[in-house]
């Protein structure tokens, strides 16, 4: 399924939501978790993932931690206090968008429709 363009706009929300559920995650783990949750339907490319992680870190929404794992160094990401606040607002923003999109795609739906 070619959904890269559709995912692009919601990638930051996906990352924040995953980190809200898991205390800390590393890059590869995020790609695998998304793949697992969507049964392989959504694949986050590294080309989009790492710039998004670095941007969220620079914005102060994520903090990083370096750990030694199996003879190599691993960079873990976790939510900062600002990041935790941001998850709620980003989630409601995305849900609102999906509801509106649904109304456009299915005009017969009543305005009170909730996903």
């Amino acid at each position: 399924m070619s959904n890269n363009n559709l995912i692009k706009g919601s990638l930051q929300t996906i990352i924040l939501k995953l980190l809200e559920e898991n205390e800390k995650m590393y890059g590869y783990e995020i790609t695998q978790r998304v793949k697992e949750l969507t049964a392989g339907e959504i694949k986050i490319t590294e080309g989009a993932l790492y710039p998004a992680l670095h941007k969220l870190e620079a914005e102060g929404l994520l903090s990083t931690e370096i750990q030694q794992v199996d003879n190599r160094v691993r960079k873990y990401y976790s939510l900062t206090k600002d990041g935790q606040k941001e998850v709620t607002s980003k989630m409601s923003e995305l849900q609102g968008f999906v509801e509106n999109l649904q109304r456009i795609l299915t005009p017969d739906l009543k305005p009170g429709f909730n996903i």
Binding site: Y28, E29, K55, S63, R72
Partner: protein, 226 residues
Amino acid sequence: MRKLSEQELEQVKKAIASKELTSVEILVEIYDHYMSHLEDFQRSEFEDELGKLEVRFTSGYCHALQAKLNKEIRKDVGKLHWKIIQRNFHLPRIMNIIGFMSVAFYLSSSIGNGKEAAIMMIFPLLILKIFHLYLLARSSIRIKIIKRSVNQKSHLQSSLFYPISERMYLPVIVVYSIVWFSDMMFDIQVSSNIAPQIALIFSILLFIYVISVLEIWKIKSKTSLI
């Protein structure tokens, strides 16, 4: 998940080293991504999977990622530094500074000549220089381990190192430019003619600046490789 053989490990290290990355943060992240991915596949699939990773992590992509990270870190360090400096101008800190300055002004009356004033001005810069050498040594030791683990021979440094060390050298360059430029161009011996009170204000400002740079390092060193 399996453990890669020595030969496979060497191939991964070679692939990573060929990208000639200079940012240790990017290098460890990409290396870990390669290893985590390849460990999920059987030995027979290793070559194919490594090839796929090489297509996704091209040298161009890695260098673009590195440049973007360096830019974002520079911006982040700048923002953090400004925030720390601003903290000095909040009421409890202003009271501390006023108290500190009053004591310092009282003590400045004991400064007898320009040489003593110059020594006072040099003191914060000396702290900065010593700290810079410490930072360089500490960072080199930490990076040496990573360099060795991935067989990287080219230059490698934390993306945070340069933005922080540039800030350390900024006051040094400004102060020495003022002193040397005035001496060379206008024949004004700034260091020996400066009033003790002015030298003291200058030293206090430099001291606040030095503390703010140390605070950036203290915050960033907790989660990075500097």
